[in-house]
Amino acid sequence: MTPAMLDIVKLSKIYETPSGRVHALDGVDLSVARGEIHGIIGRSGAGKSTLIRCINLLERPTAGKVRVDGQDLTVLPARELNVARRAIGMVFQHFNLLSSRTVFDNVALPLEIAGAPSGLIRRQAREALERVGLSDKADRYPAQLSGGQKQRVGIARALAGRPKVLLCDEATSALDPETTVQILDLIRQINRDLKLTVLLITHEMSVIRDVADRVTVLDGGRAIETGPVFDVFTRPQSETARRFVRDTVGLALPPHLTESLVPVGTSDRPLLLRITFVGPAASEPIVSALSRRFDLDLNIVAGRIDEIQGRPFGTLAVLVDGAAPKLEAALNYLRARNMPVEVLGHVPSHDRAAS
């Protein structure tokens, strides 16, 4: 196995504040394989910004190692760190372009800083602009561009020095949904064309779904869950991950149902279940099977099929009514077929399932 492109070991960052010490990062381990797009998700304050800024040492970690292509950046003296940073491109939420420079000169800047000869600068900057589809805007100033175009310039600038790793710091958070999709497509395409390793942080699970191969969930400065995107979406292990997934592909249940829910076992009224279909199970006629086998009444209250990395993934909320032992048998049947099912509670009021 080839060693990871990015290897983060026991990374900690402690801020000393007037009100005490704050652990922004608390022993984070993270490994990103070559050519992989790795997403980091967390809510604000989870430490994701600190984490990405510790990778190129814009912030110096309190403890731990950051290895990029085998080289530990935390031990490098300033001069060598500057050289190492040239191998790491970075894209920012607010673009951070120089307003006094044209698009072309912005893209050329990292090469200029690296002291590249002018012929090489021109060639690579032009190539990078072409890759993001902005060759025709080379002589414009950033203020004359739209948000999406500015971010394309930001990406071209990050690519101009032909980096080994691309860091995206909430790269789409300042963009509208349509532009977000375009920028994510661009990142995906660059990742494929250049085999470029990408680490991106976001607070939007939809970004992870659309672009990442693997995801790490960050909470309270710790990496609490990590895995392939499909697995984390379909079988989230931590409560935080579950909440992110629910917010993105989850079902919005009708409010009159969620408001009247009572805990399981406190009523003999119909049960509200949330069933998740993954992969081949997504195409099974599960509703009619339950109905026929266990003599139950099922009423679908909400449903949705999503696709994650090209694989179907569905969620169904059903009200199930029937005798308690049969309900129990039905739940066991679902679990035995490896179908994640959540029992949300009873719906005591008037309902349609029992009719």
Partner: protein
């Protein structure tokens, strides 16, 4: 107004232009590095250095709070050392420069502080040295603000230069005091004021135009 008066007025105008121009150029040359150092050594900036920042800041504040007329007299020994005399137009340039340098340095510092910290970070992430951050980001990004600072300084220097008469520096202010006030010639006073107003207006509008020209936002 007689022909002689007009010649006097022209001569005074040239003296004022000389004083303001030379001291303005020198103050810009000294003030720019001083402003950069004040900024980059401040808390949280790219070359944070408390002692350097505190000492320079104290010197700048002390110079700025000394009334110009007192500063002019107080540094006569230095003036004599530098230009060989303590009276005349060249002698006035020394205190004007010393007064304008910390003034414009603070304005430069403020202009460069307006540069988006995110842009500085972006360039740090590219592996830029501190000198590269100054030359490739701070100075070019702040250029409109720096030009505005020079404009404000030149206008202030025009006002200060009127006090240069106290050391025989000549200039428009001096002419106005000696002829307009002391010899009761209100027409000379009026002419001096009109020329000064025109001078300040021209300086300001040229400055504004340059600021607009270099603003890309």
């Amino acid at each position: 107004m007689s022909q002689a008066m007009i010649e006097l007025l022209l001569e005074a105008l040239l003296e004022t232009l000389l004083m303001v121009g030379v001291s303005g150029a020198l103050a810009t040359a000294f003030g720019l590095p001083l402003g950069v150092i004040l900024l980059v050594t401040s808390k949280g900036h790219i070359a944070e250095n408390r002692p350097v920042n505190a000492v320079l800041g104290a010197i700048v504040n002390a110079t700025r709070s000394t009334p110009f007329i007192i500063l002019m007299v107080a540094i006569i020994p230095l003036t004599r050392l530098l230009v060989g005399t303590s009276i005349g137009t060249p002698a006035a340039i020394v205190p004007l420069t010393i007064a304008a340098t910390p003034f414009v340095a603070r304005l430069f510092e403020a202009a460069m502080r307006e540069v988006d910290p995110g842009v500085i970070q972006a360039v740090q992430a590219m592996g830029a040295t501190r000198l590269q951050i100054i030359t490739k980001v701070l100075l070019p990004e702040a250029r409109p603000g720096l030009i505005a600072a020079v404009t404000v300084m030149l206008v202030s220097l025009t006002g200060y230069s009127a006090m240069a008469g106290a050391v025989g520096g000549g200039g428009l202010g001096d002419l106005g005091i000696r002829y307009g006030y002391q010899r009761f010639q209100p027409d000379v006073m009026l002419a001096v004021v009109v020329v000064l107003i025109a001078l300040v207006q021209i300086t300001q509008s040229v400055g504004d135009r340059l600021v607009r020209h270099f603003t890309r936002k």
